[in-house]
Amino acid sequence: MDSKLALYIVKRLLLALFTVFLVITITFFAMKAIPGGPFLSEKATTPAVTAALEAKYGLDKPVMEQYVTYLKGVLEFDFGPSIKNRGREVSDLLVEGFATSGKLGLMAAGIAIIMGLIFGALAAVFHNKVIDKVIMVLSTASVAMPSFVIATILLLLLCITIPLFPSNGSTAGGLVLPVISLSLYPMAYITRLTRSSMLDVLGQDYIRTARAKGVSPVKVIFKHSLKNAVTPVITYVGPMIAYILTGSLVVEKIFAVPGLGNYFFSSIINRDYPMIMGTTIFLATIMVIMTLLSDICYKIFDPRVDFS
């Protein structure tokens, strides 16, 4: 069993490494496909200046050589300079943005998991009662709303119509609404997941046995049911991080949060290609790692899953 698990982990690690490599390759050759090269400036430059620039950044070398250089650069966390933010390295901007975005994402993920588990368990315990129906209606509605719709409606309601929160996300209070708009969808999803797996578990024989021998209802819910119902949620953690990361791209734009998403968004608008590439590779790596971790956790938590 243990050797099987180890083999599985090694296999998944290799796949993850290959995925990251593939993302880097795709982004590199995508960058090459853009006409004019990455050092297009809004000001017309003389051919001599362009040639000097190209020589400086190694663009006069053959493509394969550039590819190897880029690959080496990425390994050393060097994504080259940003075009629009003159004099700034992409990697510096990434680190700077990630400090804010990481905080935002972690808070959203934490709230989504905790509240989702609580609501899901409540709905399952009070199956077919009013609480269950209210929770299900709300979560079904939230799953149908894209993050930018939730964010803009919250902005309209709670910043403009009733000015409860600042609309600028650079202050601490301003992070409340971005966190809510990011966590709503995964929360609703986790609620539904937990509810259905809890209902499944609550119908099992060992729950009846526990109840019959007089275990307190609270203990039955938390120790016997929730613990067993939590495994499907673990598999959702990877996709959830992906959702939160991409969702934060638009949510940060809406609430003017100075994070990774905002940089990414403005780099798309400004066609700042090295920045787009750098952010894509950075975010993709985080996503791949999170998916890997959640998959491995799932296998460890649920011994019944086979590793083939």
Binding site: I153, V250, I254
Partner: protein, 360 residues
């Protein structure tokens, strides 16, 4: 009764055949039990009957039908066009009184016409900042979003179904290689790749399609389709492969084979009916997710090209004037939610109705 038995030929004692006289005649009650009480239903009819009983799914079906009908036919009879800037008449200076009209307000020349006794069709949702009628933009945007959702799902369905069934049908090494490719594409972060590819395709496609019929669609929409064709089919392929593999091993397929059914018969009568429900359901659930993605990309400015509206780009444009014209954001946002929610619930209803495992 006995007469019938007597009428039967008596058995030759040396014959190995059964003695017909030892059979008893069926009573009327036994004959009645053999009667068919009602017509046997087909798989499809049975599913539709169960779907019709599901109130939520039926309400959603009605909502979807109404939205589709409005999006399809209203632009034909509507007096305004989604791209016409009402303040601009050739040879005259721009009439800015048409820009940013509130709902049911009129521009200056329209007011003159009304004063002269003419009837002018009202701007139900007002106009946008460039003086275009907003109601028709929302309706047209709904049409664009629905079309993108539908065709993107169709692309996903065709590629995924073909790839998955080939992989499942041949099995062995072919299956192994094909599924490793799927694994790799599946592990790519899709939305990020979509953003990357669309932002690059938007630049690189424009000169290539200039002058062709595709240019009318716009690079944004084409790159959405390309990206869907490249990345989104993998889950469909997995689903179809799994379905084909499990059906291949079913006892009823073995039973059909053992009584000598041909492969074509097995595929037609056993494999397809069991696959088709999964295909329909996952396509129905793919449409809202495609609309989701399209609106997300349009919101980022990577979707459809101006002046063509989509629900996402309308919401994105409305963000600039959110302080004074909040309704411009609410209208497309609510439309997206309505479409996605009803398609999701309808898809769930279809699954409940057509999944053989849930049959009671």
């Amino acid at each position: 009764m006995n007469k019938d038995i007597d009428a039967m030929p008596s058995k030759n004692p040396l014959s190995l055949q059964l003695d017909l006289k030892s059979f008893e005649k069926a009573t009327d009650e036994e004959k009645f039990m053999q009667q068919r009480m009602r017509e046997s239903t087909t798989f499809f009819k049975d599913g539709m009957r169960r779907l019709a009983k599901n109130k939520i799914a039926m309400i959603c079906l009605i909502i979807i039908s109404v939205i589709v009908l409005i999006a399809a036919f209203v632009p034909m009879i509507y007096p305004y066009n989604y791209s016409d800037q009402l303040g601009i008449t050739p040879g005259q200076s721009v009439d800015s009184s048409y820009n940013n009209l509130k709902p049911f307000e009129y521009g200056e020349t329209e007011l003159e016409r009304i004063a002269a006794g003419e009837k002018v069709f009202p701007h139900i949702f007002g106009t946008d900042s460039a003086g275009r009628d907003y109601a028709i933009r929302v309706i047209y945007g709904t049409r664009v979003s629905l079309l993108v959702g539908f065709f993107a799902s169709l692309i996903v369905l065709v590629i995924g179904a073909v790839y998955g069934s080939v992989s499942g049908f041949y099995g062995g090494k072919v299956d192994l290689v094909m599924m490793r490719i799927v694994d790799i594409i599946y592990s790519l972060p899709d939305l990020l790749m979509i953003i990357l590819l669309s932002s690059i395709l938007n630049v690189t496609l424009a000169p290539k399609i200039e002058g062709t019929g595709l240019a009318k669609l716009g690079t944004g929409m084409i790159s959405i389709f390309i990206v869907f064709a490249l990345l989104y089919w993998v889950s469909m392929a997995r689903l179809v492969r799994g379905q084909i593999l499990s059906i291949k091993q079913q006892d009823y397929v073995l039973a059909a084979r053992s009584i000598g059914a041909k492969s074509s018969h097995i595929i037609k009568r056993h494999m397809l009916p069991n696959c088709i429900s999964v295909l329909i359901i996952s396509t129905a659930l793919q449409i809202p997710s495609a609309i989701f993605t399209e609106s997300y990309l349009s919101f980022l400015g990577l979707g459809v090209d101006m002046p063509m509206p989509s629900l996402g780009s309308l919401a994105s444009d409305a963000l600039d004037g959110i302080y004074s014209y909040g309704y411009r954001l609410i209208i497309p946002a609510v439309t997206i939610c309505l479409i996605v929610l009803s398609l999701n619930l309808l898809g769930d209803g279809l699954r409940d109705a057509f999944d053989p495992k849930l049959k009671k």
